[in-house]
């Protein structure tokens, strides 16, 4: 498996993106932003269509561009209209899928590209995706070092964070930027339909057994890493599509932690 350069890239990308998504997922679920990440993921379909129609060498760039545009539009609509968050996201999610599908339908042989975009592909991970994944892990590390307290406080109570000196608006913009980049880069590996699972399930699995935010972050990062690496290995071994394989490992982590939670609680009680 490791002799193949595309598998080396896919494994490395999964090892970098798994912890990124796991860590961000803790705050995505705490801030109820799972639908947001689904919306930016679906928006990247329009990016795929643009890349396919205009023969972009690196599809990741138009995908990131379109996803950032849609994320920006979501924020603008939230701040300048009276529409509810769910309405805004449903509007943009269905709108971007419609635009992406119409654009793709104008091109010959789009079905293969559509399937790759929806379910992910190990072959889609090139040097650019790998560099972006490494950059993202670095950014998440820096954000964790310098902004963890602000993010945790804003996730608990935004006004309390603002009164404590946190610039909540800019913090939220930064988090949205990081999340949009993580989702869009992960889409190449896991696919539009399943990328939300890589954010939500490791965090949910961590919650089954964690009893503090520190434990939750550490476990979510570890489950993300495990799901990424084991999912790619399973995909190679049993010739499975890589996105679903990664998600199945995530689900296995969730099931195991759910079953182990009572025993973990008993052990804690004895100490």
């Amino acid at each position: 498996m490791l002799a193949e350069p595309f598998m080396q890239r896919a494994l490395l990308a999964a090892a970098l993106l798994g912890p990124v998504c796991g860590l961000l997922g803790v705050f995505v679920t705490a801030r109820r932003m799972a639908f947001f990440s689904d919306t930016v993921a679906h928006a990247s379909l329009t990016g795929v269509a643009v890349a396919f129609l205009f023969s972009f060498a690196e599809p990741a760039l138009p995908m990131i561009g379109v996803s950032l545009l849609v994320a920006g539009l979501m924020i603008w609509l939230r701040e300048h209209t009276r529409l509810l968050n769910d309405t805004i996201m449903a509007l943009l999610l269905s709108g971007s899928v419609a635009v992406g599908t119409v654009l793709l339908s104008r091109a010959q042989g789009y079905r293969g590209e559509l399937q790759r975009a929806l379910f992910g592909d190990v072959l889609a991970v090139g040097p650019l995706e790998l560099a972006l994944a490494a950059g993202l892990l670095g950014l998440v590390g820096l954000a964790g070092r310098w902004r963890l307290n602000a993010l945790a406080l804003a996730s608990a109570h935004e006004e309390l964070a603002a009164v404590s000196g946190v610039r909540v608006r800019w913090l939220n913009y930064g988090f949205v930027l990081l999340l949009t980049l993580a989702v869009t880069v992960s889409v190449r590996l896991v696919g539009i339909l399943l990328v939300g699972a890589l954010l939500v399930i490791p965090a949910a699995a961590a919650r089954n057994v964690a009893r503090s935010l520190r434990q939750e972050l550490l476990l979510a990062g570890a489950f993300g890493l495990l799901a990424g690496v084991a999912g790619i290995a399973a995909s190679w071994t049993w010739e499975l599509p890589c996105g679903p394989a990664i998600v199945l490992v995530c689900l296995a982590c969730f099931g195991l932690t759910l079953a182990a939670a009572p025993a973990v609680d008993r052990l804690r009680g004895r100490r």
Binding site: A30, G144, A156, H157, V163, G165, R211, S212, L213, R214
Partner: protein
């Protein structure tokens, strides 16, 4: 530093706020001297919480201005201001413990993620133990009862040793005996820490017992004065919307702006 007596800690002047096109506060003024315990009372929708948000600098004003400790930028005085919100809507699965929550603001405890729990505990200021929040350090914030959460929120608000404490209906969701205990606790803190306190409340009997000054709002300041002057039938009628001008003389008599 405790401000000199009578130097205003809060000066709000002509505060006007519209929310969704509807006027919520019109030309509201409030002047709070150091060491006072001010209660903001009024019916639902009177703008009490909005006024508190204006004082905190998180509510944009249509007109008017707010000065805290003589300055107009709330970001410059955040360490001198403690805030107790009504509640924390922490998602049930977000396992933020009380220890971690307090460490988010406690001076010097910011690196809690990398530190053993005992070392973080040692860095929490004595006010945490003083309020009994030290017994709750391992508990998740999302699982606290109403009374426990209030203690933790007060401890959080006092971490930086503030001079001004703002509380937004802090006893919402707390039972009657808990409410009584809570007010006694706030009074005690007010006295011992020599704080200026501004509190939004519905409970007139507790306000009467503990506040040193009462401001009755109903979109504008209807009347203000000492509790026994304001908590009277005619004054309350004014505050709660039946008659609006009856207590203006109290404000003039005490020389308060508004």
């Amino acid at each position: 530093m405790i401000p000199a007596v009578n130097e205003p800690v809060i000066e709000a002047c002509g505060v006007t706020v519209r929310l969704g096109g509807r006027p919520v506060l019109t030309d509201v003024g409030l002047r709070v001297a150091a060491g006072e315990f001010v209660a903001l009372i009024g019916p639902n929708g009177a703008g009490k919480t909005t006024l508190l948000r204006c004082l905190l600098g998180v509510q944009p004003l249509e007109r008017g201005g707010v000065r805290l400790f003589g300055g107009t930028d709330p970001a410059r005085v955040h360490a001198r201001v403690g805030y107790v919100p009504q509640r924390l809507a922490v998602e049930r699965g977000f396992h933020l413990t009380v220890r971690e929550f307090l460490a988010l603001r406690a001076p010097g405890a910011g690196g809690w993620f990398w530190r053993p729990r005992r070392r973080t505990d040692a860095l929490l200021p004595p006010v945490v133990a003083e309020l009994g929040a030290d017994r709750l350090l391992d508990a998740p914030v999302a699982a606290l009862s109403g009374g426990q959460l209030q203690r933790v929120l007060i401890a959080f608000s006092l971490l930086t040793g503030p001079e001004l404490l703002l509380l937004d209906e802090p006893t919402a969701g707390v039972d009657a005996p808990g409410e009584q205990t809570f007010y006694e606790l706030i009074s005690d803190i007010h006295r011992r820490h020599r704080l200026t306190v501004v509190l939004v409340s519905h409970d007139l009997s507790l306000v009467h017992r503990h506040a040193t000054w009462v401001c009755a709002l109903n979109g504008r300041v209807c009347c203000e004065g000492r509790p026994d002057e304001v908590i009277r039938d005619d004054a309350l009628r004014a505050a709660f919307g039946l008659q609006v001008t009856s207590c203006t003389h109290l404000r003039q008599r005490h020389g308060h702006a508004g």
